[in-house]
Symmetry: C2
Subunit: 378 residues, 2 copies
Amino acid sequence: MLLLADVPCSAAGVFTTNRMPSAPVLVDRRHLRATGGVARAIVCNSGNANASTGKPGERDAQAMCRLVASHVGGEARQVLVSSTGIIGRPLPMDKISRGIATLASKLARGRQADADAARAIMTTDLVPKSAHRAIRLGGVPVQLAGICKGSGMIAPNMATMLAFLSTDAAITPAMLQAALGDAAGAFNRISVDQHTSPSDTVLVLASGLAGNRTIRAKGKDWETFRAALADLCADLAYQIVKDGEGATRVFRVRVLGARSRDDADRIGRAIVDSPLVKCAVHGGDPNWGRITTAAGYSGAAIKPECMSLRIGEVCVFDRGRPVTATLENRRTAKKLHRLMRATEVTFTLDIGMGRASSEWLGCDLSRQYVAINADYTT
Amino acid sequence: MLLLADVPCSAAGVFTTNRMPSAPVLVDRRHLRATGGVARAIVCNSGNANASTGKPGERDAQAMCRLVASHVGGEARQVLVSSTGIIGRPLPMDKISRGIATLASKLARGRQADADAARAIMTTDLVPKSAHRAIRLGGVPVQLAGICKGSGMIAPNMATMLAFLSTDAAITPAMLQAALGDAAGAFNRISVDQHTSPSDTVLVLASGLAGNRTIRAKGKDWETFRAALADLCADLAYQIVKDGEGATRVFRVRVLGARSRDDADRIGRAIVDSPLVKCAVHGGDPNWGRITTAAGYSGAAIKPECMSLRIGEVCVFDRGRPVTATLENRRTAKKLHRLMRATEVTFTLDIGMGRASSEWLGCDLSRQYVAINADYTT
């Protein structure tokens, strides 16, 4: 996949927190630092992650940027690079080099080109993922668009979340990075299998061609832009969970009343990562003890006697006690089972100890997940 | 299960760190505090965990202790209680009460009684688990024995690890607690599905009937006793992982060269908890990038260029670089696949940053795990 902007753009990125970052992540960080946040192109291959490949891997990632620059003009450091696929294998540079030459000769605009780009970065994603938002900044229409991939693995270890966003908004690199830093949080509050990839990357390019007054500080325009970018990221994040490996259902965890945002996130993450919760969702089983006890081992401050839990709108645990009437009543028990068997179910956990909240998205754990990750061996 | 000692014993316990502890855990902590570490009996039911049941649940757990005392004599606070099974349902006290009366009338000694006890605390464990050690303290023969259950679930949420240990050693409650605190660490370094139960409990009773000189301080005898207790716990812990839900293989993670013990544990836990590593072990796939990147997101201090990984004795990642020769060589690649398909495989990860180490045990993730936890709904 080769994404080329008409002009050098303000550029920003957020990257994996994994301490074994892939070579492309190292190179992108370096390029963004060297240019002060300017880029014109993003190149991405799928099939090989160029991770755990040492210095030779870094040289390959840099070579990809140089190859793109040699074909489309401009500086190699204004090219950003991503790779997704198996870990620990050298990139097949012959193939990569031919691929970049072909892409450079076939650059195109429009719906079909966008769809092709979204498809090109897929690994075992079942569907391509893209989103679009339109806003006005000072009366000027501005577009935001993005494509992403994530949560598929055919050759094992394709566990990478990549999102490439673009906009014609005029905005400085610093303000763009600030907006992205906030908006990309949506990607941090999803989990398919809790294994943080060494390649996770969200990049955004802003060309300025919309002609709005350049956003240089956090004001009304920045807030409008940030909100649209956050909305775009949330849309893409949802698409990733929905297409999670082997997933048949999405569940949403709303944590309310936590003592701090950190605690709320700890609880949300423990619940969406719990294999037992994920299996209960898969089986459509309103087995709520798995949710309250996941909060219990999350490390966050909780007191059982302050905690309440709703499945959909039905309260099953009220300040430390099971709502026995609901659970033993035939009609409400049936309703709970129905709620649990829907395509999407929401758990609202009120910690009752403060005002902080957080919302997380997870998917169920199915035999298909095991099949994808155990049976198709390298 | 009712375990009755001939005399009041020194008693010690370690309990779940889950902040939603079950009612029996609360009651046991209170009893050990009130008696200064003296107990004569342990009673345990399976099928209902008496967890997330609020104050009524605590009253039920206390009632179980009173019932035992009324049948066998002695004080209720010298009885310890455990429950394992579904969360959030009131205990069926009629049934429990009849059960305790029956057990009290059928108390027995010997091999068959021990085997019956190990079987009585099972939920979906496939095999009963017990271990035995004999040592000498100042020339006096001393016995240590234990039974445990763990990692089965038929009715969902039977996720409880329970171990009951007994010895005829003479040792003060304080020294017994110190030995147990250390030895029970073996149970903390295993993982079937990372969901810390609200009921996890390890209890030990020491009757003193062996007649050794009572251990009152940390000296040679304490060290001998502690080592035997640790060995006993490690044996039981291994049996739990081997009988993990749906498990077909055990894997051992040796973390070496970490900056601190804390870091070594963080890395070990991240690896044994990773669904991707567990699936690779299930598929017999030497997909080592999943192991190195799990270390990468563990939160521990690591540098890729210092890290090395061996599968069995075969080095696949050497100070930041894949050992391409090994991985591409037909013979060694075959050997790796063979190692991965054995009943037990060891991963040795050298972090290369210090001298701390840690050893963890995990089991694979199979379709059967999903079936056990998704299909048999409540």
